[in-house]
């Protein structure tokens, strides 16, 4: 009995490796697309929102008839996998998507630490036979660490540009509150995104707009005790408090600020914190915090999307998840314009066609307005986008708009 049970486990795990049967795409009437997100582990709340918004786009397109390929309407089929925010899983999942499931392109990953190795194994030089990197297209919605899309010409991202977002933030704060002169910063020293945002986006922006940095404190992503760092911040008594920390530690820290009566005139937060979870977790404690983001429900279309995503998929609409929705629509229109064969034998050419079209895309429609995709030869941010930045502020446990581009909201 014991041996049988154990034998069954071993056999089951061996069977697990068999790749799924590959059917003919155009024949079966589907266009396969993929996504790899953090659906388990601490980043699950971000990944599951992206997956929800992706599924929403797929369902909407399918309900409206599907994608038009070679004169026929085919339905989208989403292959979604969990990479648990782990490199090893990302490395196997990407090959499953590329080779077993044979999807046209993939969304995700959620975590920059997964995007690093996964983009790292992609082909670096197009048309170079000596380059055995994977020829597989990514159109990322979340992994925001600056510079990831440079790793490979197959990696495209529709994510926020943090250096520009924080430049805008401090420029506006300077304009609206010229009396604020000094700043103190807190960041998570073991979390790559936090560190690169501080070094690459905030430190230069603070310098550019003439703020004096009085104190920089650090803690760990998983820390729950912030007494010592808060005391240092209290002593610094800066006008601005820049919190480049993610939801869990932000909530903990701002409560400690209240305890030790640290009063800053203005708090600035990191992009990822502008989500519903922060409100649920911190509520009143983050009152007044300003965060640059790319998505807020400021137009009727955005509001409708956010409501639908929550009602049908329990997915939060934020700057990390809404791009998944936008990317699927963008690829749909590319596919319809460029014309792919959508057959298993032409998969490599189809991916390449879509890749090249994406590089030449220029401007496409996002939920809040136009988004510009930079091409391969952009010197600073190839294959990353320029899109509108909104600044939101926490007021009465809600994110309200503190500043939006003048053109927005008129649609």
């Amino acid at each position: 009995m014991k041996r049988l049970a154990v034998g069954a486990v071993v056999v089951a795990s061996a069977l697990a490796l068999l790749p799924g049967a590959g059917a003919a795409f155009q024949e079966e009437g589907t266009l396969r697309i993929g996504g790899m997100w953090a659906l388990s582990g601490p980043a699950a709340y971000i990944g599951s929102s992206s997956r929800g918004l992706a599924q929403l786009a797929v369902d909407e397109i399918n309900e409206a008839g599907g994608v038009s390929i070679q004169g026929k309407r085919v339905k989208l089929q989403l292959y979604a996998y969990d990479d648990a925010c782990k490199a090893e899983e990302g490395l196997t999942v990407v090959r499953r998507l590329a080779d077993s499931d044979r999807v046209l392109f993939s969304l995700g990953p959620t975590c920059s630490s997964v995007a690093e190795p996964v983009f790292g194994i992609l082909q670096k030089r197009l048309d170079d036979p000596a380059d055995t990197g994977l020829q597989f297209l990514f159109f990322t919605d979340t992994a925001i660490k600056f510079g990831l899309a440079r790793i490979s010409p197959w990696a495209f991202r529709n994510v926020g540009n943090e250096p520009e977002m924080f430049d805008l933030t401090f420029k506006l704060v300077r304009e609206r509150h010229p009396e604020l002169r000094t700043a103190a910063v807190a960041y998570e020293s073991d979390f790559a995104h936090s560190v690169s945002t501080w070094k690459g986006a905030v430190e230069p922006a603070l310098k550019k707009y003439g703020y004096q940095v009085l104190e920089v404190v650090e803690w760990r992503f998983e820390d729950t005790e912030f007494g010592a760092q808060t005391t240092k911040l209290r002593k610094a008594n800066a006008d601005l408090l820049v919190m480049l920390t993610h939801t869990f530690s932000t909530c903990g820290a701002v409560k400690e600020f209240k305890r030790q009566r640290v009063r800053s005139k203005l708090m600035i937060g990191i992009t990822s914190a502008a989500s519903t979870e922060t409100m649920v977790g911190c509520g009143q404690a983050v009152e007044g915090m300003i965060i640059p983001t790319n998505f807020a429900a400021v137009t009727p279309r955005a509001r409708a999307l956010a409501e639908k995503a929550w009602a049908r998929y329990k997915a939060d609409s934020n700057l990390h998840s809404v791009p998944a929705y936008e990317n699927i629509y963008a690829i749909k229109s590319i596919v319809e314009k460029v014309g792919i064969r959508n057959e298993p034998g032409t998969l490599l050419q189809d991916r390449r066609k879509v890749r090249d079209a994406l590089a030449r895309l220029g401007t496409f429609q996002g939920v809040l307005g136009p988004i510009k995709m930079n091409g391969d030869d952009d010197p600073v941010k190839p294959r990353d986008v320029d899109k509108a930045v909104i600044l939101v502020q926490a007021r009465n446990a809600q994110w309200t708009v503190w500043w939006q581009p003048p053109e927005m909201g008129k649609k």
Partner: protein, 293 residues
């Protein structure tokens, strides 16, 4: 007082307060090890499960705080019993490493279950003891940490009474000394084991409630972190010694806070492990443990 001295004293106060939190974790671990002579790596997740179960009366039923406390305790006890059945009861005796692995499996399972049920979203416990620090002269003291310190001392006192002055306590000590002889003398060893799980889980649940109040936001990762800290504390304190766990927790807290203040975050973690190494090398029995035979 000079500024430096003020800092040292403040961080010592903080360290002692926070150390009480480590002490609470250690008490449960060491109590378990003392009787069962095994490590329960699923203790951290048990405490975490109690904490998360307490969210139900808090948010869904909007119940008063004492209901929340009871739920934490009851929840932890239920999960503790589940751990006993799943991870310990059916493992054939004589295999010391197997319970290590089954409790690791349980740690993974419980942590993922919590992530699944909560979408890894942050939740908070209300600050029952107020949300401003008390001012004692030039020093700030967190009232919730103070509560934890007092609770820790209370638990130690109650456990002392239980262990030294009750029949059950005698039975526990007998099983801890020598289970076979205890059995021969008429002690129901398996009942004592089960009740030990109940007791440590109850302590865990109560500790969990107090500790959860101090967190700004709950996250599923606390299970693993509590487990590591708990293990470090009981090794420094001496396996099986409850007062040792308390002292070790306080010591660890003070060392960490001083290191953090003066040297920064990386050194805080390094010093914590250096403290562990120092004890392992210089005094393996720990602060108050019996010398290893």
């Amino acid at each position: 007082m000079s500024a430096l001295l003020l800092d040292v004293v403040q961080q010592t106060i903080n360290g002692l307060m926070y150390g009480a939190f480590y002490a609470l974790l250690g008490i449960g671990f060491t109590l378990f090890f003392g009787v069962m002579k095994k490590f329960n790596l699923a203790y951290g997740p048990t405490v975490m499960a109690g904490i998360y179960l307490g969210l139900l009366p808090l948010y869904v039923w909007k119940a008063p705080i004492w209901v929340v406390v009871l739920t934490c305790v009851a929840g932890a006890v239920l999960v503790g019993l589940l751990v006993e059945v799943a991870c310990f009861r059916y493992v054939a005796p004589g295999n010391e490493l197997a319970p290590l692995m089954t409790t690791i499996g349980m740690l993974i399972l419980i942590q993922e279950l919590v992530v699944l049920l909560t979408h890894a979203a942050p939740f908070e416990y209300p600050p029952v003891f107020g949300d401003e620090s008390l001012e004692l002269g030039p020093f700030l003291v967190r009232p919730d940490y103070l509560a934890i310190l007092l609770a820790g001392l209370l638990f130690v006192g109650l456990l002392y009474l239980l262990v030294e002055h009750t029949a059950f306590g005698r039975a526990m000590r007998a099983v801890a000394e020598n289970p076979r002889v205890a059995q021969l003398l008429g002690v129901d060893v398996s009942r004592v084991n089960t009740l030990t799980f109940v007791l440590t889980s109850a302590v865990g649940g109560a500790s969990g409630f107090l500790v959860a109040m101090t967190f700004g936001a709950l996250q599923p990762g606390i299970a693993g972190w509590m487990t590591i800290k708990g293990l470090v504390v009981i090794v420094i304190g001496g396996l099986g010694s409850i007062p040792g766990a308390v002292l070790a927790g306080l010591l660890l807290g003070v060392v960490e806070f001083q290191a953090l203040w003066f040297l920064g975050i990386t050194w805080r973690d390094i010093f914590a492990y250096l403290l562990l190494f120092a004890f392992l090398v210089l005094r393996p029995a720990g602060l108050l443990g019996r010398a290893a035979t």
